[in-house]
Protein backbone atom coordinates (compact mmCIF):
# COMPACT_ATOMS: atom_id res chain seq x y z
CA UNK A 1 0.00 0.00 0.00
CA UNK A 2 1.32 3.42 -0.92
CA UNK A 3 2.14 5.54 2.08
CA UNK A 4 0.47 8.85 2.60
CA UNK A 5 2.58 11.95 2.59
CA UNK A 6 3.88 12.57 6.13
CA UNK A 7 2.92 16.26 6.01
CA UNK A 8 -0.58 15.26 4.96
CA UNK A 9 -0.75 12.70 7.77
CA UNK A 10 -0.03 15.41 10.34
CA UNK A 11 -2.17 17.97 8.48
CA UNK A 12 0.61 20.56 8.27
CA UNK A 13 2.15 22.54 5.41
CA UNK A 14 5.52 21.54 4.00
CA UNK A 15 7.11 24.65 5.48
CA UNK A 16 5.58 24.08 8.95
CA UNK A 17 7.78 25.05 11.89
CA UNK A 18 8.99 22.46 14.39
CA UNK A 19 6.52 23.83 16.91
CA UNK A 20 3.60 23.47 14.47
CA UNK A 21 4.60 19.88 13.74
CA UNK A 22 4.89 19.08 17.43
CA UNK A 23 1.51 20.65 18.14
CA UNK A 24 -0.20 18.82 15.27
CA UNK A 25 1.33 15.55 16.44
CA UNK A 26 0.19 16.02 20.05
CA UNK A 27 -3.36 16.81 18.98
CA UNK A 28 -3.61 13.85 16.62
CA UNK A 29 -1.85 11.42 18.97
CA UNK A 30 -4.34 12.28 21.69
CA UNK A 31 -7.27 11.93 19.32
CA UNK A 32 -6.28 8.62 17.74
CA UNK A 33 -4.58 6.87 20.65
CA UNK A 34 -5.97 3.33 20.46
CA UNK A 35 -6.56 3.19 24.21
CA UNK A 36 -8.72 6.29 24.02
CA UNK A 37 -10.25 5.98 20.56
CA UNK A 38 -12.05 2.68 20.14
CA UNK A 39 -13.08 3.24 16.52
CA UNK A 40 -11.84 0.67 14.01
CA UNK A 41 -8.65 1.79 12.31
CA UNK A 42 -7.54 4.15 15.08
CA UNK A 43 -4.55 1.96 15.85
CA UNK A 44 -3.29 2.06 12.25
CA UNK A 45 -3.88 5.77 12.13
CA UNK A 46 -1.97 6.26 15.39
CA UNK A 47 1.00 4.31 14.03
CA UNK A 48 0.93 6.35 10.83
CA UNK A 49 0.93 9.58 12.86
CA UNK A 50 3.83 8.33 15.01
CA UNK A 51 5.86 7.35 11.97
CA UNK A 52 5.26 10.70 10.28
CA UNK A 53 6.25 12.55 13.44
CA UNK A 54 9.38 10.49 14.03
CA UNK A 55 10.64 11.67 10.64
CA UNK A 56 9.40 15.26 10.53
CA UNK A 57 10.48 15.94 14.12
CA UNK A 58 14.10 15.13 13.27
CA UNK A 59 15.64 17.87 11.15
CA UNK A 60 18.06 15.48 9.43
CA UNK A 61 15.40 12.91 8.60
CA UNK A 62 13.00 15.65 7.58
CA UNK A 63 15.54 17.09 5.13
CA UNK A 64 16.03 13.60 3.68
CA UNK A 65 12.27 13.14 3.42
CA UNK A 66 11.83 16.50 1.70
CA UNK A 67 14.47 15.47 -0.85
CA UNK A 68 13.63 11.81 -1.44
CA UNK A 69 10.09 11.29 -0.15
CA UNK A 70 9.33 7.65 0.68
CA UNK A 71 12.95 6.70 -0.09
CA UNK A 72 14.26 9.01 2.64
CA UNK A 73 15.90 6.15 4.56
CA UNK A 74 18.25 5.61 1.63
CA UNK A 75 19.23 9.27 1.44
CA UNK A 76 22.95 8.64 2.05
CA UNK A 77 23.18 5.92 -0.57
CA UNK A 78 21.15 7.94 -3.05
CA UNK A 79 23.42 10.92 -2.44
CA UNK A 80 26.50 8.75 -2.91
CA UNK A 81 25.05 7.14 -6.02
CA UNK A 82 24.24 10.54 -7.48
CA UNK A 83 27.79 11.63 -6.79
CA UNK A 84 29.67 8.66 -8.22
CA UNK A 85 27.02 7.72 -10.82
CA UNK A 86 28.15 4.15 -10.44
CA UNK A 87 25.48 1.48 -10.86
CA UNK A 88 27.15 -1.88 -10.01
CA UNK A 89 26.96 -1.38 -6.24
CA UNK A 90 23.27 -0.80 -6.24
CA UNK A 91 22.33 -4.47 -5.94
CA UNK A 92 24.76 -5.12 -3.09
CA UNK A 93 23.51 -2.11 -1.18
CA UNK A 94 19.98 -3.42 -1.51
CA UNK A 95 20.96 -6.75 0.03
CA UNK A 96 22.53 -5.00 2.99
CA UNK A 97 19.33 -3.09 3.53
CA UNK A 98 17.36 -6.30 3.67
CA UNK A 99 19.69 -7.53 6.39
CA UNK A 100 19.30 -4.45 8.50
CA UNK A 101 15.55 -4.52 7.95
CA UNK A 102 15.50 -8.12 9.18
CA UNK A 103 17.42 -7.14 12.28
CA UNK A 104 15.17 -4.18 12.86
CA UNK A 105 12.08 -6.38 12.64
CA UNK A 106 13.31 -8.70 15.33
CA UNK A 107 14.59 -5.89 17.44
CA UNK A 108 11.23 -4.16 17.54
CA UNK A 109 9.40 -7.34 18.52
CA UNK A 110 10.07 -7.00 22.21
CA UNK A 111 9.68 -3.92 24.36
CA UNK A 112 13.21 -4.19 25.64
CA UNK A 113 16.14 -2.77 23.77
CA UNK A 114 18.11 -5.87 22.95
CA UNK A 115 21.08 -5.90 20.71
CA UNK A 116 20.24 -7.38 17.35
CA UNK A 117 19.97 -11.17 17.38
CA UNK A 118 22.72 -11.88 14.85
CA UNK A 119 25.26 -9.97 16.89
CA UNK A 120 24.19 -10.91 20.38
CA UNK A 121 22.96 -14.48 20.35
CA UNK A 122 25.31 -17.37 20.84
CA UNK A 123 27.85 -15.23 22.65
CA UNK A 124 26.10 -14.08 25.81
CA UNK A 125 23.07 -15.81 27.27
CA UNK A 126 20.19 -13.43 26.56
CA UNK A 127 16.72 -14.11 27.95
CA UNK A 128 14.04 -14.64 25.30
CA UNK A 129 11.80 -11.78 24.31
CA UNK A 130 8.33 -11.45 25.75
CA UNK A 131 5.73 -11.76 23.03
CA UNK A 132 2.46 -9.86 22.89
CA UNK A 133 -0.43 -11.14 20.79
CA UNK A 134 -4.12 -10.37 20.33
CA UNK A 135 -6.88 -12.90 19.78
CA UNK A 136 -10.48 -12.23 18.78
CA UNK A 137 -13.01 -14.65 20.24
CA UNK A 138 -16.80 -14.82 20.11
CA UNK A 139 -18.92 -14.40 23.22
CA UNK A 140 -19.84 -18.10 23.00
CA UNK A 141 -16.12 -18.94 23.06
CA UNK A 142 -15.63 -16.69 26.09
CA UNK A 143 -18.42 -18.66 27.76
CA UNK A 144 -17.43 -22.20 26.76
CA UNK A 145 -13.66 -21.76 26.35
CA UNK A 146 -11.78 -22.00 23.07
CA UNK A 147 -8.48 -22.96 21.58
CA UNK A 148 -6.29 -21.15 19.08
CA UNK A 149 -3.00 -21.92 17.44
CA UNK A 150 -0.53 -19.05 17.26
CA UNK A 151 2.56 -19.11 15.08
CA UNK A 152 5.75 -17.23 15.89
CA UNK A 153 9.00 -17.07 14.00
CA UNK A 154 12.19 -16.62 15.95
CA UNK A 155 15.77 -16.29 14.81
CA UNK A 156 17.76 -19.22 16.13
CA UNK A 157 21.51 -19.24 16.24
CA UNK A 158 23.32 -22.38 15.14
CA UNK A 159 26.74 -23.61 16.30
CA UNK A 160 28.16 -22.36 13.01
CA UNK A 161 27.06 -18.87 13.99
CA UNK A 162 24.38 -18.68 11.31
CA UNK A 163 20.99 -17.35 12.36
CA UNK A 164 18.07 -19.26 10.92
CA UNK A 165 14.38 -18.58 11.42
CA UNK A 166 12.54 -21.14 13.45
CA UNK A 167 8.80 -21.30 13.38
CA UNK A 168 6.97 -22.35 16.50
CA UNK A 169 3.30 -23.09 16.91
CA UNK A 170 1.65 -22.69 20.25
CA UNK A 171 -1.77 -24.08 20.89
CA UNK A 172 -3.48 -21.93 23.47
CA UNK A 173 -6.45 -23.21 25.40
CA UNK A 174 -8.54 -20.24 26.47
CA UNK A 175 -10.42 -21.10 29.68
CA UNK A 176 -14.17 -20.45 30.01
CA UNK A 177 -15.11 -17.12 31.59
CA UNK A 178 -12.54 -14.75 30.10
CA UNK A 179 -13.59 -11.11 29.73
CA UNK A 180 -13.13 -8.56 26.98
CA UNK A 181 -9.66 -6.98 27.13
CA UNK A 182 -8.34 -9.59 29.56
CA UNK A 183 -4.70 -10.50 29.11
CA UNK A 184 -3.55 -14.10 29.56
CA UNK A 185 0.00 -14.69 30.62
CA UNK A 186 1.77 -17.85 29.53
CA UNK A 187 5.04 -18.04 31.41
CA UNK A 188 8.01 -19.20 29.39
CA UNK A 189 6.08 -19.40 26.11
CA UNK A 190 7.57 -16.29 24.53
CA UNK A 191 10.74 -16.07 22.49
CA UNK A 192 13.47 -18.62 23.28
CA UNK A 193 16.52 -17.43 25.19
CA UNK A 194 19.99 -17.88 23.80
CA UNK A 195 22.52 -20.08 25.58
CA UNK A 196 21.13 -21.15 28.94
CA UNK A 197 18.94 -18.07 29.32
CA UNK A 198 15.24 -18.62 30.00
CA UNK A 199 12.51 -18.07 27.42
CA UNK A 200 10.38 -14.94 27.49
CA UNK A 201 6.71 -14.93 28.38
CA UNK A 202 3.71 -14.80 26.09
CA UNK A 203 0.97 -12.25 26.75
CA UNK A 204 -2.30 -12.65 24.89
CA UNK A 205 -4.93 -9.93 24.86
CA UNK A 206 -8.45 -11.25 24.29
CA UNK A 207 -11.10 -9.28 22.49
CA UNK A 208 -14.70 -10.43 22.45
CA UNK A 209 -16.32 -9.66 19.12
CA UNK A 210 -19.81 -8.10 19.05
CA UNK A 211 -22.67 -10.57 19.48
CA UNK A 212 -25.94 -10.54 17.58
CA UNK A 213 -28.08 -10.69 20.75
CA UNK A 214 -26.00 -9.80 23.79
CA UNK A 215 -23.91 -6.88 25.02
CA UNK A 216 -21.07 -7.61 27.45
CA UNK A 217 -19.98 -5.60 30.49
CA UNK A 218 -17.21 -7.40 32.34
CA UNK A 219 -18.72 -10.76 33.26
CA UNK A 220 -22.30 -9.51 32.96
CA UNK A 221 -24.30 -9.74 29.76
CA UNK A 222 -27.29 -7.71 28.66
CA UNK A 223 -30.22 -8.76 26.51
CA UNK A 224 -32.89 -6.48 25.11
CA UNK A 225 -36.19 -8.32 25.23
CA UNK A 226 -39.39 -7.27 23.46
CA UNK A 227 -42.64 -8.20 25.20
CA UNK A 228 -46.31 -7.57 24.39
CA UNK A 229 -48.45 -5.10 26.38
CA UNK A 230 -50.53 -7.94 27.86
CA UNK A 231 -47.40 -9.83 28.96
CA UNK A 232 -46.25 -6.62 30.68
CA UNK A 233 -49.63 -5.92 32.26
CA UNK A 234 -50.58 -9.43 33.35
CA UNK A 235 -47.18 -10.99 33.89
CA UNK A 236 -45.95 -14.03 31.98
CA UNK A 237 -43.40 -16.81 31.92
CA UNK A 238 -41.41 -16.65 28.71
CA UNK A 239 -38.39 -18.34 27.13
CA UNK A 240 -35.28 -16.19 27.13
CA UNK A 241 -32.01 -16.93 25.32
CA UNK A 242 -28.96 -17.23 27.60
CA UNK A 243 -25.37 -18.16 26.72
CA UNK A 244 -25.97 -21.72 27.87
CA UNK A 245 -29.12 -22.09 25.71
CA UNK A 246 -32.43 -20.85 27.09
CA UNK A 247 -34.24 -20.45 30.39
CA UNK A 248 -37.82 -19.77 31.43
CA UNK A 249 -38.11 -16.32 32.96
CA UNK A 250 -41.00 -14.84 34.92
CA UNK A 251 -42.10 -11.34 33.95
CA UNK A 252 -43.88 -9.75 36.93
CA UNK A 253 -47.34 -8.29 36.38
CA UNK A 254 -47.18 -4.53 35.79
CA UNK A 255 -43.70 -4.61 34.19
CA UNK A 256 -42.69 -1.36 32.54
CA UNK A 257 -40.65 -0.61 29.43
CA UNK A 258 -36.96 -0.22 30.29
CA UNK A 259 -37.38 -2.43 33.36
CA UNK A 260 -34.34 -4.56 34.11
CA UNK A 261 -34.63 -8.15 35.29
CA UNK A 262 -31.68 -10.18 36.55
CA UNK A 263 -30.90 -13.80 35.82
CA UNK A 264 -28.36 -14.54 38.51
CA UNK A 265 -25.24 -16.38 37.44
CA UNK A 266 -26.26 -16.58 33.78
CA UNK A 267 -23.44 -14.32 32.60
CA UNK A 268 -19.85 -15.40 31.93
CA UNK A 269 -18.66 -18.17 34.28
CA UNK A 270 -16.23 -17.54 37.14
CA UNK A 271 -16.23 -17.13 40.87
CA UNK A 272 -18.48 -15.33 41.14
CA UNK A 273 -20.14 -15.85 37.76
CA UNK A 274 -21.59 -12.83 35.99
CA UNK A 275 -25.31 -12.19 35.69
CA UNK A 276 -27.54 -11.78 32.69
CA UNK A 277 -29.68 -8.65 32.67
CA UNK A 278 -32.82 -8.58 30.60
CA UNK A 279 -34.05 -5.12 29.63
CA UNK A 280 -37.70 -4.99 28.61
CA UNK A 281 -39.26 -3.26 25.67
CA UNK A 282 -43.01 -3.22 25.37
CA UNK A 283 -43.93 -3.57 21.73
CA UNK A 284 -47.41 -2.39 20.85
CA UNK A 285 -48.95 -4.33 17.98
CA UNK A 286 -50.49 -2.30 15.16
CA UNK A 287 -54.25 -2.44 14.87
CA UNK A 288 -54.69 -3.91 11.43
CA UNK A 289 -58.40 -4.82 11.32
CA UNK A 290 -61.62 -3.07 12.24
CA UNK A 291 -62.04 -5.50 15.15
CA UNK A 292 -58.57 -4.72 16.51
CA UNK A 293 -59.18 -0.96 16.29
CA UNK A 294 -62.46 -1.47 18.19
CA UNK A 295 -60.54 -3.43 20.81
CA UNK A 296 -58.08 -0.55 21.40
CA UNK A 297 -61.02 1.92 21.63
CA UNK A 298 -62.68 -0.32 24.23
CA UNK A 299 -59.40 -0.36 26.18
CA UNK A 300 -59.21 3.43 26.10
CA UNK A 301 -62.71 3.66 27.49
CA UNK A 302 -62.19 0.99 30.11
CA UNK A 303 -58.85 2.34 31.43
CA UNK A 304 -59.49 6.08 31.20
CA UNK A 305 -55.68 6.41 31.49
CA UNK A 306 -53.60 9.55 30.88
CA UNK A 307 -49.87 8.70 30.62
CA UNK A 308 -49.10 12.46 30.44
CA UNK A 309 -50.85 13.44 33.67
CA UNK A 310 -47.56 14.54 35.23
CA UNK A 311 -46.76 16.94 32.40
CA UNK A 312 -49.52 19.30 33.50
CA UNK A 313 -50.98 19.90 30.04
Amino acid sequence: MAKRDFYQVLGVKRDASEEEIRKAYRNLARKFHPDVNKAAGSEDRFKEIGEAYSVLNDSKKRAAYDKYGEMWKHAEELDAAAESRSGPNAHYTHMEDLGSLFEELFRTRGPRGYSSPSRGSGVFPIPGMDQHAKIDISLEEAFHGASRTLRFTYPESQPDGQGRPRSEEIKVKIPPGVTNGQILRLAGKGGPGSGNAPSGDLYIELRITPHKLFEVDGKDIYLSLPISPWEAALGATISVPVLAGKVEMKIPAGAQAGGKLRLKGKGLPGSPAGDQYVVLKIVTPKAKSQKQREFYRDMAEEFNYDPRAELGV
Binding site: R164, R166, E168, E169, K171, A187, Y222, V279
Partner: protein
Amino acid sequence: MASRRNKRTIPIRRIATRVSAQELCRAYGIEYSFLISMIEYGIIEAEPHRDFDTSVLTRIGRAVRLHRDLQVNPAGIAVILDLLEELESVNTRLSVLERLHNYRNR
Protein backbone atom coordinates in the same frame (compact mmCIF):
# COMPACT_ATOMS: atom_id res chain seq x y z
CA MET B 1 20.40 -18.02 2.27
CA ALA B 2 20.35 -21.28 4.19
CA SER B 3 17.01 -21.55 5.85
CA ARG B 4 15.48 -24.38 7.78
CA ARG B 5 12.12 -24.24 9.43
CA ASN B 6 11.67 -26.15 12.62
CA LYS B 7 8.07 -26.52 13.59
CA ARG B 8 7.10 -27.34 17.11
CA THR B 9 3.63 -27.38 18.55
CA ILE B 10 3.31 -26.72 22.24
CA PRO B 11 -0.12 -27.13 23.75
CA ILE B 12 -0.81 -24.85 26.67
CA ARG B 13 -2.99 -26.00 29.47
CA ARG B 14 -1.97 -23.84 32.36
CA ILE B 15 -2.37 -20.12 32.30
CA ALA B 16 -0.55 -18.11 34.96
CA THR B 17 -2.76 -16.25 37.42
CA ARG B 18 0.09 -14.37 39.11
CA VAL B 19 2.80 -12.16 37.74
CA SER B 20 5.81 -10.78 39.63
CA ALA B 21 6.90 -7.14 39.66
CA GLN B 22 10.05 -8.09 37.77
CA GLU B 23 8.06 -9.90 35.08
CA LEU B 24 5.69 -6.95 34.73
CA CYS B 25 8.58 -4.51 34.31
CA ARG B 26 10.13 -6.77 31.68
CA ALA B 27 6.90 -7.37 29.78
CA TYR B 28 6.07 -3.69 29.45
CA GLY B 29 9.59 -2.27 29.42
CA ILE B 30 9.02 -0.12 32.51
CA GLU B 31 11.16 0.90 35.48
CA TYR B 32 10.37 -0.46 38.91
CA SER B 33 9.75 3.11 40.10
CA PHE B 34 6.98 3.51 37.51
CA LEU B 35 5.31 0.37 38.78
CA ILE B 36 5.49 1.72 42.35
CA SER B 37 3.91 5.02 41.33
CA MET B 38 1.08 3.10 39.63
CA ILE B 39 0.39 1.39 42.95
CA GLU B 40 0.65 4.67 44.87
CA TYR B 41 -1.88 6.35 42.58
CA GLY B 42 -4.28 3.41 42.87
CA ILE B 43 -3.97 2.54 39.19
CA ILE B 44 -3.30 -1.07 40.13
CA GLU B 45 -3.84 -3.02 43.29
CA ALA B 46 -0.99 -4.74 45.08
CA GLU B 47 -1.35 -7.27 47.87
CA PRO B 48 1.37 -7.38 50.51
CA HIS B 49 4.01 -10.10 49.99
CA ARG B 50 2.28 -11.54 46.92
CA ASP B 51 2.77 -11.36 43.20
CA PHE B 52 0.22 -9.36 41.24
CA ASP B 53 -3.01 -10.86 40.01
CA THR B 54 -2.86 -11.06 36.21
CA SER B 55 -6.03 -8.95 36.07
CA VAL B 56 -3.71 -5.92 36.51
CA LEU B 57 -2.22 -6.57 33.07
CA THR B 58 -4.98 -4.81 31.13
CA ARG B 59 -4.65 -1.61 33.19
CA ILE B 60 -0.87 -1.69 33.17
CA GLY B 61 -0.78 -2.07 29.39
CA ARG B 62 -3.02 0.95 28.97
CA ALA B 63 -1.14 2.98 31.57
CA VAL B 64 2.21 2.29 29.95
CA ARG B 65 0.95 3.26 26.49
CA LEU B 66 -0.64 6.49 27.77
CA HIS B 67 2.61 7.37 29.53
CA ARG B 68 4.88 6.45 26.64
CA ASP B 69 2.78 7.80 23.76
CA LEU B 70 1.13 10.85 25.29
CA GLN B 71 3.47 11.63 28.22
CA VAL B 72 0.61 11.41 30.72
CA ASN B 73 1.79 11.35 34.35
CA PRO B 74 0.48 8.79 36.89
CA ALA B 75 -2.16 11.17 38.31
CA GLY B 76 -3.46 11.78 34.78
CA ILE B 77 -3.35 8.07 33.95
CA ALA B 78 -5.48 7.28 37.00
CA VAL B 79 -8.14 9.79 35.92
CA ILE B 80 -8.09 8.66 32.28
CA LEU B 81 -8.38 4.96 33.12
CA ASP B 82 -11.30 5.55 35.49
CA LEU B 83 -13.07 7.70 32.89
CA LEU B 84 -12.38 5.20 30.10
CA GLU B 85 -13.85 2.38 32.16
CA GLU B 86 -16.89 4.48 32.96
CA LEU B 87 -17.23 5.38 29.28
CA GLU B 88 -17.09 1.72 28.30
CA SER B 89 -19.81 0.89 30.80
CA VAL B 90 -21.98 3.77 29.55
CA ASN B 91 -21.42 2.67 25.95
CA THR B 92 -22.56 -0.85 26.84
CA ARG B 93 -25.74 0.49 28.38
CA LEU B 94 -26.28 2.74 25.39
CA SER B 95 -25.90 -0.23 23.04
CA VAL B 96 -28.52 -2.13 25.04
CA LEU B 97 -30.93 0.80 24.73
CA GLU B 98 -30.20 1.16 21.02
CA ARG B 99 -30.98 -2.49 20.51
CA LEU B 100 -34.25 -1.96 22.37
CA HIS B 101 -35.06 1.05 20.24
CA ASN B 102 -34.32 -0.83 17.04
CA TYR B 103 -36.85 -3.59 17.61
CA ARG B 104 -39.59 -2.99 15.08
CA ASN B 105 -43.25 -3.42 15.71
CA ARG B 106 -44.56 -6.20 13.52
